[in-house]
């Protein structure tokens, strides 16, 4: 063994070894806090809509312009900003935004990241850490489509609609009930969801606008108030504000005996007019249509198909720099598809015999679903085709389905899982 250690061997009394060791320990002990210190991660950021960006073939500087404009209009996850045009309440947003912490009042802030972001993502893109494991996937707010609401198919939900969703949860999905948070918190969260949705829609229209640009714009969006507010923000914001007065008028349930009504509903259900049977199946177990996608998954599905064909198209008649550009875009798109989109899943029509109604079990809710269809889902609207009375009959029939056992189900009895009702 070498000399220093050899000498170390000789003086091996605790007294002399103590300082040596203490230095070593001190060193390491001080090291730990430092390690912890440098462990601090940067503040949370909004993730750009990479899928749309890749679809629109945006250049990095264009992506950055979008990010900059959005930060100007909406701020950051920790520090949201709202322009008066959005009609959002900044006080509520502050309650929901930012990291989880208590402020001076001892009131809990950062509600969204405490309760929502691990599924819906800090950006509201439905891509939080937990998202990939959930079935169905958590909602992506950015396209601004919402399923369960009291307004017409293409309209935004009312504030109350979203509150109801948060209060009741969505039975049949991984969305739990948040009623016990209390009104103020739920209210704040709903406001924040609107905020994220508006931001996401604004981002989409910004990214899409690059295609609309003329050549003299040199691929740069005008950063004028007219453009950003009038063209981008208001169209989105106004539709949110209109929602409040776009609630569907619901005529009273017809004055017919329930069993009759159910019988008529059943006729419609299986008949050629309402055609419910086509998707929900002759057993009403939701086994009629298995190979369709909802709009969120369709976007990814179709785009990956486009990518596929883009991979196949011959690059022979391209100039060399066109080709390299094409290749770069393909490479980027593939990474985006892998990292910024969840593998598309087919959507199953609802099994109507489990007494699980995602949009709520009130007759009213079912009326809305049938009247306006379900935005983002294949479910079409019946209004105009069916009279309100006919819709009510179907509602009554559907509500009776979980309790109907006329042997039609045959072997599928177990699927009813009556005990679970």
């Amino acid at each position: 063994m070498n000399l220093p250690s050899a000498t170390a061997c000789k003086n091996n009394q605790p007294t002399t070894t103590a300082p040596r060791l203490s230095l070593a320990c001190l060193g390491v002990c001080c090291l730990l806090p430092i390690l912890a210190g440098c462990g601090q991660t940067p503040a949370a950021t909004f993730r750009p809509n990479m899928v749309e960006s890749a679809k629109q073939r945006l250049q990095p500087e264009q992506e950055q312009q979008v990010a900059t404009i959005l930060e100007a209009m909406f701020g950051t996850p920790d520090n949201p900003v709202v322009l008066p045009e959005t009609g959002l309440d900044i006080a509520k947003l502050r309650l929901a935004a930012g990291p989880v912490h208590s402020d001076i009042v001892g009131r809990k802030n950062g509600l969204f990241r405490e309760h929502c972001s691990h599924c819906h993502g800090v950006t509201g893109d439905g891509m939080g850490p937990t998202a990939a494991f959930l079935n169905p996937y958590p909602r992506d707010y950015r396209p601004g489509w919402f399923k369960f609401k009291s307004t017409e198919r293409a309209d935004k939900p009312t504030h109350a609609d979203l509150v109801t969703i948060l209060n009741n949860g969505i039975y049949g999905t991984s969305m739990p009930s948040f009623e016990l948070l209390g009104e103020t918190k739920v209210d704040a969260l709903v406001e924040y969801v609107k905020y994220l949705s508006m931001r996401g829609e604004a981002e989409l229209s910004l990214m899409r606008y690059y295609f609309e640009l003329d050549d003299e714009d040199e691929g740069k969006l005008p950063e004028t108030r007219d453009f950003l507010i009038e063209e981008i923000l208001l169209p989105v914001a106004e539709r949110w504000q209109e929602a409040e007065d776009a609630v569907i008028e619901v005529p009273e349930m017809p004055e017919v005996d329930l069993t009759e009504s159910i019988a008529m509903g059943k006729e419609l259900f299986y008949g050629n007019k309402a055609n419910c049977v086509k998707c929900h199946g002759v057993t009403a177990l939701g086994d009629g249509q298995a190979n369709d996608y909802d709009d969120w998954n369709k976007v990814v599905k179709q785009w990956s198909a486009e990518l596929q064909s883009a991979h196949e198209t011959s690059t022979s008649d391209m100039t060399s720099e066109e080709r390299s550009e094409h290749r770069a875009w393909l490479a980027k798109s593939d990474r985006v598809l892998a990292g910024d989109a969840l593998d598309p899943r087919t959507i199953q029509p609802r099994n109507l015999r489990q007494a699980i109604y995602r949009g709520g079990r009130r007759p009213l809710d079912l009326y809305y679903r049938i009247h306006a269809g379900i935005n983002g889902a294949p479910m079409p609207a019946a209004a105009g085709t069916l009279s309100p009375d006919e819709i009510w009959h179907i509602v009554n029939y559907i509500r009776s389905l979980p309790y109907e056992f006329d042997g039609e189900l045959g072997a599928d009895r177990s699927m009813v899982a009556r005990d679970r009702l």
Binding site: C25, V28, L35, Q40, P77, P99, V122, F133, S174
Partner: protein, 602 residues
């Protein structure tokens, strides 16, 4: 057994045989240090591997504590994984952390360090054998740990992360991959790892039993065996009888997951909003099978420590062990009763309440042997000449802490009280007092005590005591508070309990516990430094630095291949300290009978 007659290498020898390494040095190195069949090398291999996992497990615990104290805040270092979320860990990541903390600590640290490290190193030395009965089997028992190391280690990096359903791995959470992110590949790897740990323990236990029964030195009757050996012997028996059940259950779960059997999955559940396939099974079945192994395993995890502590205490109290045979009987009693108390983990599981009553009675009864042991340890201290060496301090604290862990067990044994404190921090406190404040302290005692025999040098006493002092303070700071948290009903395994009105005021207390935990892990640096420094530069130890009685102390430190330079002949039990009429205060087991000794003195 073969009598060992080759020349004794003497004090200066290292584990490697001198010379003869010229022709094929690599092969020589491999056969000596890596694929060695020498029980001492294997013991040390176990020791080092388990100490590494001990560190990993400790760090996992810190991450868990961080989340419990400051939920959803930016986690140091780990936060990098969640940069998008501003560094807050996701709930499924938290569940993975505590699952793997327990898994690592139990299956990769405590069980292998007791049986594997100390069992291997001490059994032949303490019974006067030149090696284990089946050296190759012994080597395999170590190398079968590696697939387990790899499986558990790799599971952190697979899709969905490592197992995240608790170390008890209750179905259906574990049998249905959709039920939880960690129930994907991670759970499969977990089950595979568990199986390999089982195989390793099984090989070990067979070996220990055979060795202890067949290879004792002349004169070493069963009732002259040191408590350590008795404990190891009983432990081996427990392993041999309980393990097959767990292995079988593990495979059943594997089948439920992979080939769609339904042992543990009931009919017609909806998991993650999908109808489940196979049905007709019963989730409680797993709990019965699992605890049928894991309750005895609880004793597998403490008996050897009890044995070692008994030996160390007698040595530093310079006094015979108080009630040697009662001690043995109580160990045997614990082992026997240990097989009929598993149900006390399931009082509120939905098992027939009448069954709960019977399990309550047997559980109350198993408190007896533990009480007897405690009293005997006290008796051993009484009237001794107590030397405060580090090893002794750890042993005393073992007794002191075991009293706490034992008594808190009675609360859980009482079924009505268990209704309230089941799955709260009360139970967390209980098993950490038994397993950490108990076993881990015993392990440290053992390391400080037998370190000279392992490496031929003694560890630094001053820093050893500093290490003991800090560990002792911090561990009580961390775990004692858990009792009163449990009294509030604070549930375990919650990523964030403070949104419950009942618990939201407990955050400061949890923060305090987390600070203590950080301190506890940090001060292990002292131990590590001391350990490795002493390995090379510690003061050289003679054959018997503590003036102890056991056979191992007649061998050179460290013992060469074959352990003893002269075949030890045993004349008496291991605890003959302060024998009247004999001026040196200890009579080693090999010392010739007293008369001759006295005569020789004259």
């Amino acid at each position: 057994m073969s009598t060992v007659t080759h020349p004794g290498p003497g004090d200066t020898t290292t584990v490697a045989p001198a010379g003869s390494a010229k022709p094929r040095p690599i092969a020589e190195f491999l056969s000596t240090y890596v694929f060695s069949k020498d029980h001492k090398v294997i013991g040390l291999q176990f020791l080092f591997s388990t100490l590494v996992w001990f560190l990993i497990g400790g760090l996992l615990a810190l991450a868990v504590r961080w989340q419990v104290a400051w939920p959803w805040s930016d986690v140091p270092v780990l936060g990098k994984l969640f940069a998008q979320e501003g560094g807050q860990m996701s709930p499924e990541f938290y569940t993975m952390l505590f699952t793997m903390h327990a898994t690592v600590m139990i299956f990769l640290v405590i069980i292998p360090i007791l049986a594997g490290a100390f069992g291997n190193f001490l059994i032949p030395l303490m019974i006067g054998a030149d090696d284990m009965a089946f050296p190759t089997l012994n080597m395999l028992s170590y190398w079968f740990m590696w697939p387990a190391f790899l499986a558990f280690g790799a599971s952190f990096f697979v899709e969905g992360g490592a197992a995240s359903s608790g170390w008890t791995s209750y179905p259906p959470l574990t049998t249905n991959p959709a039920a939880s992110p960690g129930s994907g590949m991670g759970q499969t790897l977990w089950l595979i790892g568990l199986t390999f740990v089982g195989v390793s323990s099984m090989l070990g236990s067979v070996n220990y039993m055979t060795t202890i029964i067949l290879m004792r030195a002349p004169g070493m009757t069963m009732f002259r065996l040191p408590m350590t050996i008795w404990a190891m012997f009983i432990t081996a028996l427990l392993q041999a009888f309980a393990l097959p059940v767990l292995t079988a259950a593990g495979f059943m779960q594997l089948f439920d997951r992979s080939i769609g059997t339904g042992f543990f999955s009931p009919e017609g559940s909806i998991i993650n909003n999908e109808m489940t396939g196979a049905g007709g099974g019963q989730p409680l079945l797993w709990q019965h099978l699992f605890w049928f192994y894991s309750h005895p395993a609880v004793y597998i995890m403490i008996l050897p420590a009890m044995g070692m502590v008994s030996d160390i205490m007698t040595c530093f109290a310079r006094k015979p062990l108080f009630g040697y045979r009662p001690m043995i009987y109580s160990v045997a009693g614990i082992a026997g009763l240990g097989f009929i108390v598993w149900g006390h983990h399931m009082f509120i599981s939905g098992m027939n309440p009448a069954l709960g009553m019977t399990f309550m009675v047997s559980t109350m009864m198993i408190a007896l042997p533990s009480a007897v042991k405690t009293f005997n340890w006290l008796g051993t201290l009484w009237g001794g000449r107590i030397q405060f060496t580090t090893a002794m301090l750890f042993s005393i604290s073992f007794v002191s802490m075991f009293i706490i862990g034992g008594l808190s067990g009675i609360f859980m044994a009482a079924t009505p009280v268990d209704i309230f404190i089941h799955d709260t921090y009360f139970i967390v406190a209980h098993f950490h007092y038994v397993l950490f404040a108990g076993t881990a302290m015993g392990v440290w005692a053992g390391i400080y005590f037998w370190f000279p025999k392992m490496f031929g040098r003694t560890m630094n006493e001053f820093w050893g005591k500093v290490h003991f002092f800090l560990t002792f303070i911090f561990l009580n700071g961390t775990f004692f508070t858990m009792h009163i948290l449990g009294a509030v009903g604070f549930p375990r395994r919650l990523a964030d309990a403070y949104h419950y009105e009942t618990f939201h005021h407990l955050q400061p207390m949890n923060a305090f516990m987390t600070y203590c935990a950080i301190g506890m892990v940090a001060c292990q640096v002292i131990f590590a430094a001391n350990f490795f420094w002493s390995m090379f530069y510690g003061p050289r130890a003679g054959r018997n630095p503590w003036n102890a009685n056991g056979l191992e102390w007649t061998a050179p430190s460290p013992p060469g291949h074959g352990n003893f330079d002269v075949q030890p002949i045993v004349y008496r039990g291991p605890y003959e300290y302060s024998v009247p009429g004999c001026e040196k205060d200890h009579l080693m087991q090999t010392d010739p009978p007293l008369e001759t000794a006295v005569a020789a003195a004259h």
